[in-house]
Assembly symmetry: C2
Homo-oligomer: 374 residues x 2
Amino acid sequence: MSFDFRFDLLATDGMARAGVFHTPHGPIPTPIYAPVGTQATVKSLTPRQLADVGAILVLANTYHLYLRPGDELIAELGGLHTFMQWPGPMLTDSGGFQVFSLAGKRGQKSLRAIDDDGVTFRSHIDGRRHRFTPERVMEIEQNLGADIAMVLDECAPPDDYEYNTRALRRTHAWAERCQAAHHRPDQALFGIVQGGIFPDLREQSAAFLTQLDFPGYAIGGLSVGETKEQMLETLAFTTPLLPADKPRYLMGVGTPEDLVEGVARGVDIFDCVLPTRVARNGQALLRTGKLNIRNARFAADPAPLDETCQCYTCQHFSRAYLRHLVIAKEMLAATLLSIHNLHVMLTLIKEIRAAILAGRFESYRAAFWEARAH
Amino acid sequence: MSFDFRFDLLATDGMARAGVFHTPHGPIPTPIYAPVGTQATVKSLTPRQLADVGAILVLANTYHLYLRPGDELIAELGGLHTFMQWPGPMLTDSGGFQVFSLAGKRGQKSLRAIDDDGVTFRSHIDGRRHRFTPERVMEIEQNLGADIAMVLDECAPPDDYEYNTRALRRTHAWAERCQAAHHRPDQALFGIVQGGIFPDLREQSAAFLTQLDFPGYAIGGLSVGETKEQMLETLAFTTPLLPADKPRYLMGVGTPEDLVEGVARGVDIFDCVLPTRVARNGQALLRTGKLNIRNARFAADPAPLDETCQCYTCQHFSRAYLRHLVIAKEMLAATLLSIHNLHVMLTLIKEIRAAILAGRFESYRAAFWEARAH
């Protein structure tokens, strides 16, 4: 019997929605922000720390895990949850985005070539050739065994109409092939709506994919070069094209601001490496903006990153200590700043959800921007 | 009123001793192994993880903290315990060992010059000149505010009789000056017995320092180039020269084997970077030896590092996962291997203590070596 990947919509407030998406590894309250564990680890954190910080859904990257240590090995060891010891829900991307990103990474011959059947690319680790087709990607994602898998799609430059028209045909054909090749009953396969910043293409894409009846939909091709206004506008006209009873996932986004504005436009699921990546550079996210802990003015500052924050880092450590760790290149700096930054994101999304459920999302949103203005 | 740095000797078994050394931040059961937090952090671990793994006494390095972030800053922020959020007992070395180590570190002019009054050296960070005298070091260690501070001494090559004779005069004069300059009532200042591998010099040194009546004594100048046999022999004839009612500290030692054999020769306190340093290179300590997790034979191994180990790492993660983290250069590898290695050391020393208290240390020691022989 296959798992019922049900999405319970609990409340709406304008376009903002609060719900629950059920998975074999537990319910995902939405809206949700998912930390990214690229190589089967959210960098510098143990799963216990990740749970302590309030993480529920965790993402891992198919491209990286396929190359190293290999999806077959992970399957043999019991799947991704067992391998990395994350007991909660997980999501894997299709690897397509990373493969398409290989195009411009070096000032040399492109590392990938795309055709109607799939994409051939060279590993960034050792330069060896590999090939992803929709069927191959489904095999890999099913080996990894996350609760949510993504179809292989083609990511086009968001403002190139011709390219997007052509890419859309491929994306749709691949979506059908992915669906046909996918058979794990305990894994939900999400479709990805493409079409760049063009309403007619997004409409076409939403219509085509909706008819395939996926248990969830991502809005792809955003946060890849378009302006923030274009992204938000595209979201605003795309989410209403999607079925209300399925979760909507905005891939690779974003900042605290993006979470608030994405939710305001009907997004349910977010993921982004930003909180942990900037942590490794000594940057802390705050309610009111951000803070570079390397700054000399924090050298003797006994205050925590944020007086109001309840995270382990803020409950124990001074800015002066965190700065010392960063300057001294101590690994603990990345750990403590990642704990704080993830806590900020996860607390924000929890507050957003509570505001929607209480019918006061707009006032929450206004207060959020008010705090940033100072 | 000054704190009573009392050492309660609870049991002896041959030369092995079990006791309790009382400090303002709690009792230290001895024998004890202290993890090293060089720059006010045991690399890659939070204080919570350190406590979970069973650490009690934690060491920090005066040389490093004096240079960065500075002892005065740490004092201003409430001292080392508050700064790094270690609530238990702490110990600082004098910085002398690091300064003397600067001698041969580069293929260039020595970075330090010693005279009767102190030692002038260049920072390994920016090459700037600094000077340590006994009085200056006491000021720094009192600023750091660990429960146990060490006197400044001169480390001589262990097998150079002439050098050791000269160095001993200086070491003794400095010990007196340190004692005169030390006035923190909540900090115990330990003397350091020197004299290389030479019984008559060790005797001289023990006699001189014992008469100064320090609350504890270190056996210095070992694990710096002499053979293992010389180290153990020196220990065996030095510890009986020290008062039975004061703790004995073997600085910078060592391996699991060193703990067992050091205790067998009357040592109460050990510290060493080895467990965390080798962890960062992918090496795990086992009851029976060690294991390099990079080895290809662990690539698909679903077993934990040690089936019998109760640490967080062994209770959750496979060798295959740990190997993946090391190969993929993930920070979590250092964290998980450090947790395991410290757990091994701290469990070993706890078992040793229990064996002494039960009067079966010799059979424990025999079983330890028996396990290693296979």
